[in-house]
Structures are given as C-alpha cells and as structure tokens.
Amino acid sequence: MTHFSIMMLLPMTVGLPLLAAIVSVIINSHRWRTSISTMFATIQTLIVILLLLAIPDADGLYRYTLGGWGAPLGIDLVVDGLSLILLLTTTVLVLVLNLYSIWYFSDVATSTRFWPLWWLLVAGLNAAFIAADAFNIYVALEMIGLAAVALVALTGTRTALVAALRYALVGLLGSLCYLLGVVLLYRAYGTLDLAQLATQTQASPLTGSALCLISVGLVLKTALFPLHFWLPPAHANAPAPVSAALSALVVKASFYLLMRFWLDVLNPTVTGITANFLGVLGAAAILWGSFAAFRTQRLKLLIAYSTVAQLGYLFMLFPLALTGSSPTPLSNAAVTAVTYFIIAHALAKAAMFLAAGNILASCGHDKIDKLQGLVCYQPLALLTFALAGVSLIGLPPSGGFIAKWLLLNAAIENGQWWWVVVMLGGGLLAAAYIGRVINIAFSQASTEKSTGPMKTVPERHSLQVNLAMPGLALAMLAILLGFNAQWILNLLEGSIELHLANAGGVQ
C-alpha cells in the first residue's frame, strides 16, 4: 500500500501546478493568489522530496501507467534519478522564485497574468521531465514554449514584445520539426513509447532522418550556437523572475530531452561524427557566447549571452559520452558531470538574473558602463552577482568548480584534450566578463548625478531586502553545492547507471 501511495505522487507533479494555475485564474484577490501559490510550491517540494527518498526502494525507476492502459496504447510516466534531479532543481527554484515574484509583481495588473502563466509553465516543465511518450513530449514542449513566450511579453515594452514574437516563431518551428521526427518514428516502429522505441530502433535512413529532425527541433529550443539568435533578447527583456526561470529551467528541459534521445532512445543511429559535430557547435557557443557577453553594454544581455556560452558546455556531453576508447564507464562520468553542470548553472544563473533585476529596478537602467559605485547602494545584489559569478567561472569552492572539474576529468580520461582547452578558455573569458562588471561596480562614481539610484532607497528598504534575499539564497546554494558534492554524485551515479540499463531492459 505504501508503494501505491508513493506512485500517486508522480501524476501530482503535473496535476498540482495545473490546479494552482486554475485557482489563480479564477481568484481575484492578489493576497490570496500569492499565498495559495506559496502553499502549492511548498507541497510540490514535499512531493519531490518524498519521491527522492523513495526511489532507491523502487530500483531507481518509477513507471506510472495513466488510465491503466499501458504503454503502446496509453501514456506512461517515467521518473528515474536523472529526471528526479531535474524535478528537484525545478521545484527548489520554483519555491524561491515564487517568494521573489510575490514582491516583484506587487503591481496587480501584471500579477493577474503572471501567476496562471507561471504555474502552467511549471506544469509543462514537470510534464516534460517525467514524460515517457514522444507525442506527449510535443504537447509538453508547446506548453513550455507558449507559456514562456507569454511570460516574456509581460514586460510590455516594444523590445520585449518583438523578442517574445521571435521566440514564439522559433518555438513553433522547433516543435514542428520535432513532431515530424516523431511522425517518422511512429511510421517506422508503430509506437510512441520511448522505452519501446529504445528497444526497437535500428540504424536506418528513416530513423536517422527522424533523429535529425528531432535534434534540429530540440537544438533550436535549447539555443545551441548558430541557432541561439533568439535567446539573448528574450531572456534579457523578460521580467526578472521569468528571465531566471528561462535560463535556469526552460532551455534545460529541451536539453534533457535531447540527452534522452541521443544517449538512450535513438542511440543506435548516433554516429561519432554527429556527436563530435554537436561538440564543435558547443565549443563555438562557449567562445562566441563569452565573447558577446564581454562586448555587450547591458547587464541582463551579458547574463543572457553567458547562458549561450554555458549551454555550450552541456553539449560537450555528446562527444565525451558517445565517442572515445571505452564508452561504457566514461559515458556515465560525462552524464554525471553534465547533470551536475545543469544544477550548478541553474542556481547560479537564476541568482544572477534576480540580482540584475534588483539592479535594474533600483537604477532604472542596466547599462554596465554606468554602474559605478553600485557597491554603495546595492551591496546585496552585487554580492549575489559575485557569488554566482564565482560558480559560473568555476572557482574552487563552488558547484560550478565541481561541475567543470568533472567535465575536464571526463575529457582527459577520454583522451580528448582539445575540449579541455576550450573549456579552460571559456572559464577565463567568463572571469573576464564577470570581472568587468565587478570592477565597474567597485569603482568610484565620477559624478554624483549620473550614477545615483533613481528612487530614494530608505522608504523601499524592507522591500529591497526582501527582493535581495531569494537571489542571495540561490547564490549561496550554488556555492554550497561544491561543499556537499558527494551526496548528489552518489545519487546521480547510481541512478544514471540504472537509467541507461533500464532503457534497454523495459519492454
């Protein structure tokens, strides 16, 4: 019976956010809406923690048959260590961003739209992380895409609306490419269930085309280097908590799906050349993204370009896990490293966007050159930015350091030293663009008038502290992740081994 009740938690990870969205559409009171959201966020966290505690008993994998029909006809939900880690990251960030948004969206007009869309986005993310059906993933991707677009448009400025429109077009294009790939798979294998596809796929031209289409769709949504053009304006012009969620979670959802298709579902069709191709694009993303971040004039754009660069590191996974002399143990090392990287980047980048949101709110602009003396009137935001920056650069005590160290290790053991050069270079460039901001923020203001805060600080002081705390907490978490790495590493290593083994085993 205990097993039964734990299993019920899995569909609830989608059902609860949907319920929260419905309640926030119907309810008209701002105060009620925020307290109910906080309640839902807390319950969601509890559910994911319970799932996390129970998963070793279930041999690392839950499968839930919705409607009782079972895989080929019905839809299943699957959660393993990897998806649980992503669910946990999502739920922790949702909890923190929820608190931040209560203060950030105290303006009623925007908040009536924000809360329903926010919860629908969370529902879509959770649905994508636990999906086990190719078409179901399409619907979840559309949910994520459209909700993200609507959230970006909340800013209401022309730049934000144009960025949202471009994001929407790219999202629709990506989903259609993905869908055509799924259609080809259905044509060839007569099933949509990922586990069944994984057992049946053989290397054939049709499966290869399907992999290409699916990858193009998902890469477009993940914003890998030559297809990243839509990301910086969309992430830089959204409201602060939305920017944080977009960079930390939304692009990771499509990357997670890419991971599942390449390492697991369509693995037989993957060749070394295509894996290396993705790696090269990732390397280009690291260099180009960092360079663009260094050159840009606006703080939020800098952070967005940094996301483009950091996404490049994720794509190191494909050459490291899929090519090389002894693929089996090393592939796990690469997967662990990349998953660790996803968590570290999610925490640091969310913290950074929240800090930038506070700076933007208090200065009325985020032009980097005019941020002199920031340390005097926004010390907490700057501290958050610096701590998150430490993790992004990959300096020793942080989560980012462990993530990069694991990646470098995997590359060296695999004998692919050229990726090491790129990754170290990316770290140096990150130090350069983050150091540039810190340097200006600590420098003395040349003239009082041009640089001082627009609004008088004292009357909004309590609100300012409230707004600073969530970001600071996330930045601290990003650092602390480095101190307590072993716990997550154990969970990851155990579960990913099982995940890959189970992919072939479940019929």
Binding site: V139, E142, L165, L179
Partner: protein
C-alpha cells in the same frame, strides 16, 4: 504509387515549402501562413501513416486533432503579439511629430 505514399510525399513537400516561407518571408502574417502550411504537411504524413489498407489507425487522428488546436493557439498568440507591437508603433509614431 499508393495513396499513403502519395500523401506522405505531398506532406514532405508542404513541410519544405512552409520551411522556406518561414525563413524567407518578412511579413509576420506570411510567416504564420508558412508555419501553418508546415503543420499541414506534418499532419498529412501522419494521416497517411494511419492508413493500412482497410484498417485505419485512430491514434494519428487524435494526434492531428491535438496538433490543429495547438497550431491555432500558437497562431493566435503570435498575431496578438504582432498587433500589440503594431499598436505601440502607431501611438509612438503619432506622438513624435506633434
């Protein structure tokens, strides 16, 4: 040449035409028409796949129904965004000369 293959190929051609249009056209309405044509192409391949002689597979039909609704939702959101941008442009361009 069977009905299945004929419509599968036609679907791929429509997908290609739409893809070209969505990249090469500049006007937002043209881009949206192109995206909808791409969608029709995908649905056509899917519905052709559903035909197995006398047997017709209902799963693709349900998938296409879902796809049509999602496509119209996406189109409407894009049009709404475009009109909002347009409205902003109009009000500012009217304010500036005066």
């Amino acid at each position: 040449m069977t009905q299945d293959l004929l419509y599968s190929i036609a679907g791929i051609v429509l997908f290609g035409i739409g893809l070209f249009g969505v990249i090469a056209a500049a006007h937002i309405i043209r881009k949206l028409i192109a995206i909808n044509i791409m969608g029709i192409g995908v649905f056509m391949v899917l519905l052709a796949t559903a035909r197995h002689g006398t047997i017709t597979d209902p799963l693709p039909h349900a998938m296409v129904l879902t796809g049509i609704v999602v496509a119209v939702a996406g189109t409407a959101l894009c049009l709404w965004l475009a009109l909002q941008i347009h409205q902003l442009d109009n009000t500012t361009s009217k304010d500036q000369p005066q």
